[in-house]
Symmetry: C2
């Protein structure tokens, strides 16, 4: 049983509401939009991600026979509704910002237009898929900016929240500009470059540290990256220098060393000196251990001689912002725009479009949130048609292309939105057309 | 492809290290232990969780043919190692604290004893499974304590980090004492009681709020819980009162209302008064929206008339502590105890046991961390044999029994460890035998 594809991976109320919609003949087109309500204090921008997994999910949504059995046995659903679910297919339309697009609070990044029970039933998994990759891509993009060109590797699988998170964090961080991941499954499924060295256990299992280095080099002559902090970092570096000629005689070149503890900047300086003086200027230094965009910024500012940064847990769980204040809200039903008015959670009604404007240097200048049928707007419309009648309109771009697109997006970020600490964000302009629609809807409420 | 069961859901270095172990004949028994290094400031205790999923994983670990194909195509592994992986079975032993056991920093909750390549290869997924459920169970237990007996429901699936996290959060929170979950798949897989009401979209899709209430009641006459905050909470409550007699004539009883926004304590007081004065004292109030143990504590202190608390995102991502400083470390190889000395990350060597002592009132008084073969200790040994030679020794207890055990564990928590804010924790005593072993190991290092 794969939870990632189960139709029962949803909230009970999606099923109970859908039954009530079906029973009352409420199957007219509904428009839902997914957006983030507020920017966290430390986020100047978000990177849209997760669309490909969402489209896959919607195209292949089928209720399995064991799921139908559970529904029957639960006693919660009518026979007619179980039969509805047996025939269930997603036949709706989907508009979205391409993955990798920069966006801000209130801007829908996905819009679903489908018969109401369908649009409702997909809610839980849609949020589950879009939030997580957007969260990680946005966090990872900050590390990419902080690294100023130094390559970053995802090491986060072990402390990700479950299997799918670990896998999708590799994808989202690669999309955002990471160089690769340690996660093997991400390499095999998404063709993401895979990296790895050795763990402390490998060193400890050998009686002598240098014997561990030598064994590893013999087994993987093309990928000799040695972990040197198990006992004492600089001593480890000296052993690498002593070992290098012996390996060279066997035709093996040491590619790098990894530091994983202590004051990484200070150790990197010492280790670089030991390696250089030992005739190993080509050996690269990888740093890992509790890294995030803040630590990377400091290490870069200190000009620590670190060639690769391995970023794990703090990115994979987006430690400083572990969730987004996001929602998937009904904006229109049967041609009638609608709006939630709950305190602190009010939404802009109707189906919408976002138009982006750029300054002369190509940087993002401002966004306008407006009604989809507002013909007065100029600028670049960000939401594009992706699926029609339950099928993708064309192949989605390969991940490498999305990664290039994301890089061009980051290049268009104005300086003020790049700050890692509490910084500026972009306040989206709400068009007068949309403001008028909200007033019209309010006048007709209840 | 189910990522939860793929053997390639691992770090590359597990595979590269395993190949080197196999090539160098290093297949002697290794002992690894999983533990948390430090207590986060806001955690006085942890609840061990995730063992059942780990045992399932280890028993069924098989490398699929597409995974072997990927290994071959990658060019990174020897033919002999690919063949080793084709035959791979986990044949080791596992000791663990039962799920639901309270534990503290430095205490192993799982110990693996297996040929070194096996014990190494399981590391990534072992941490991935144990950390997440332990994180959520520990967070959820705090909410259970704060609720002082009021029932709690897990609403967190949508903002969980992926599919497996959402599913396992339902399990971990139920283990910790939650009443149930909104996640349907958790009901069908783990037999967890499932709960649900309606979303704002359901209200909005109807032109009149009261019509939405009525439609839902007709479709689910046995489960009428109405969401009343879509437009204005107290107005929603008045509509419920007006609707009740009409539904009663159809034989339908309103069970509850849900509040999801604004000042929950103030709204609950108003809504309770409206319901009581309207002759509906039996209608229960459920509160949701951004709840966690801190908010629940405040609502209880304010004596808000809330009957059920629905807890979502902040528990599922463990928002204030989204990861644990946990590790799975080699403690012994081929009969030789070993130890990692990296700065800030040193470990206690050897295979260990934890003995717990209780005060006269049955509360936890202190724990002793010692060598497994230390015969001088009294107290309750917490690590128990679970698997032998790759198979579970007996069935693991059903989830309901684990939930009862967790409740008895929480009852044994001393008052000082129950504080939600920065509070006390229990400093584990390291036995003199273990301290001596550490000195012996240090004397022999390198």
């Amino acid at each position: 049983m794969d939870p990632c594809t189960s139709t029962l991976l949803t909230d009970l109320y999606q099923l109970t509401m859908a039954q009530s919609y079906v029973e009352h003949g409420m199957e007219e087109p509904a428009v839902f939009e997914f957006f983030v309500r507020t920017m966290p204090p430390t986020r100047g921008f978000f990177i849209a991600a997760g669309l490909e997994q969402l489209v896959d999910y919607l195209e292949h949504m089928r209720v399995q026979s064991w799921e139908l059995d559970w529904m029957r046995k639960s006693g919660r659903f009518s026979q007619a509704f179980v039969e509805y679910m047996e025939r269930f297919r997603f036949t709706g339309h989907l508009h979205a910002m391409p993955e990798g697009t920069i966006f801000f609070a209130h801007e829908p990044i996905v819009r679903i237009t489908a018969p109401l029970p369908q649009a409702q039933l997909v809610e839980t998994r849609l949020i589950n898929l879009l939030q997580y990759q957007t969260l990680v891509a946005s966090k990872a993009a900050r590390a990419v900016l902080a690294a100023q060109g130094a390559p970053l590797i995802d090491f986060g699988l072990r402390r990700a929240h479950g299997a799918e998170a670990g896998l999708l964090a590799a994808r989202a961080s690669y999309l955002a500009g990471f160089h690769g991941s340690a996660t093997v499954l991400a390499a095999s499924l998404f063709d993401i470059p895979v990296f790895g060295t050795m763990a402390h256990a490998f060193i400890q299992a050998h009686i002598k540290e240098v014997e561990a280095f030598e064994h590893f080099a013999e087994s993987h002559p093309g990928n000799v990256i040695l972990l040197i902090d198990t006992y004492q970092t600089e001593e480890g570096a000296k052993k690498v220098v002593a070992l290098a000629p012996r390996l060279r005689r066997k035709g093996i070149t040491i590619k790098g060393v990894r530091l994983d503890s202590g004051d990484l900047a200070a150790h990197a300086v010492q280790v670089r000196r030991i390696l250089d003086e030992g005739g190993l200027p080509e050996v690269k230094i990888t740093a890992s251990g509790n890294l995030d965009e803040y630590a990377i910024q400091q290490l870069r500012a200190a000009q620590a001689p670190i060639d690769f940064f391995a970023v794990g847990t703090k990115m994979t769980v987006s430690a400083d912002v572990p969730y987004l204040d996001c929602a998937y809200k009904l904006q229109e039903y049967a041609g009638r725009p609608c709006r939630k008015k709950s305190e602190g959670k009010a939404t802009w009604p109707g189906r919408k479009q976002v138009y982006r404007h750029y300054s002369a240097d190509g940087r993002i200048e401002g966004d306008v949130l407006t009604c989809e049928d507002d013909t007065q707007q100029t600028g670049e419309p960000l939401l594009q048609p992706i699926m029609e009648a339950g099928k993708r309109l064309h192949d989605l771009p390969p991940l490498t292309q999305l990664r290039e697109y994301t890089a061009t997006q980051l290049a268009r970020l104005p300086e003020r939105l790049r700050a890692l600490e509490r910084g500026a964000t972009l306040e989206v302009t709400v068009s007068s057309a949309l403001q008028q629609l909200a007033r019209d809807v309010d006048a007709q409420l209840w």
